[in-house]
Amino acid sequence: MKKTKINLRLIIGFALILMLALALIMSGTLAKYTNKIIIANEVDYTNQLADSFRLLDKPITVQEDGSYTVDTSSGAEPMSGFSYKLIPGVMLPASPYIEIVNKTVIPAYLYLEIDNSGAAELEMDGSWKLLDGVSGKKGGTVYSYGDEALVGEAQAGATEETTASGSQADDDVLTFTTFIVKTLSKIPSETEGSVKVYAYMIQKVGEQSAKDAFQAAPAP
């Protein structure tokens, strides 16, 4: 019986010391100076070259004398929607252009790939330069738009509409002006007589040239 009483006193004593120590620690913590400051902002990021990138053209209509003219009264449409008959000796005017909306500050080269199956001769605008020895992603001839990469003026993610640097026919359109099918060098079969145009925009990484950037990019 006596042993039990001693244990009880010990337990009460320990509990008392423990609670006092706890109270000491807690009171010390609560008494410290503390404050919290929150700073809010946002990260605006992009690895896009532009918001929109399209190859457009206006329709070509046949005149009474058999010639073709560009229908300037019509709005531009995606070039993939056009289909014309290539007639030997008849010139087909066309003015396809590349529309770039909200070019970002990421530098990028602009390219055209022409695959005409050898059935037509095209007159390129002077701004386009043939990339010698470069085969296109679709097997065609590749041109770069000058030697310099395009850089947009807007900050990444900016909402205002901006355009690529370079010659511009309209406020928000970058063009390569007239592109003419002069004459057919031979009478093609139906499968040979096609002219396909592809446009590409590829990021310039480091000091890459237009040729290097095109060759380094994977096929679409």
Binding site: Y33, I37, E42, D44, Y45, R54, S80, G157
Partner: protein, 172 residues
């Protein structure tokens, strides 16, 4: 043989109450002591509560812009936070970048990223810490750094709101 005695319940309860009273007295006394000024000794001696003013500031207008890999930014952007201790006591600061949507944190897991920082400031000391947002790995993983195509834009743009939470604590 004597019968088995019952545990002294009243004694235990009394001891517990005593403890609570002591704790309350201790805490209350501590709180009052923080707001008490006591002067002793010569007339030009005094005691007062130490001044406390720790602050952090950084730009809140204009986003932190990160541009794709291969550019000068190379998928990385920094954000400087100025920390100032105008207190008469030393302080410790612990800071962390938090996102409104925690899923966004994974976008900044590049090797050079730094989304937390901490340190000490002596009284009247000023320092600057840098948060580093590193999206280079994110851009690589998603293979979105090369836009390519006809009527086709790849890549990604976005805005990620964030907060830098800076907590200051007095050092004993």
């Amino acid at each position: 043989m004597r019968s088995k005695s019952k545990p002294p319940v009243a004694a235990i309860a009394a001891a517990a109450l005593l403890c609570l009273v002591l704790i309350s007295m201790h805490m209350t006394a501590g709180m009052f002591a923080r707001y008490t000024v006591k002067a002793e000794g010569p007339e030009d001696s005094s005691a007062r509560v130490a001044a406390y003013n720790a602050s952090a500031e950084a730009p809140t207008e204009g986003p932190v812009t990160i541009i794709a890999n291969g550019t000068d930014e190379n998928g990385i952007a920094t954000y400087a936070v100025k920390l100032k201790n105008d207190s008469e006591a030393a302080v410790r600061y612990d800071a962390e970048v938090n996102f409104n949507n925690e899923d966004d944190r994974a976008k900044f897991d590049g090797d050079d990223g730094k989304l937390t920082f901490s340190g000490n400031l002596a009284p009247n000391e000023v320092t600057e810490e840098t948060v580093t947002f590193d999206m280079s790995e994110y851009f690589k993983k998603n293979d979105k750094w090369n836009t390519f195509g006809n009527d086709d834009i790849s890549g990604e743009s976005g805005i990620v709101p964030f907060e830098v939470d800076v907590k200051f604590t007095q050092i004993d």
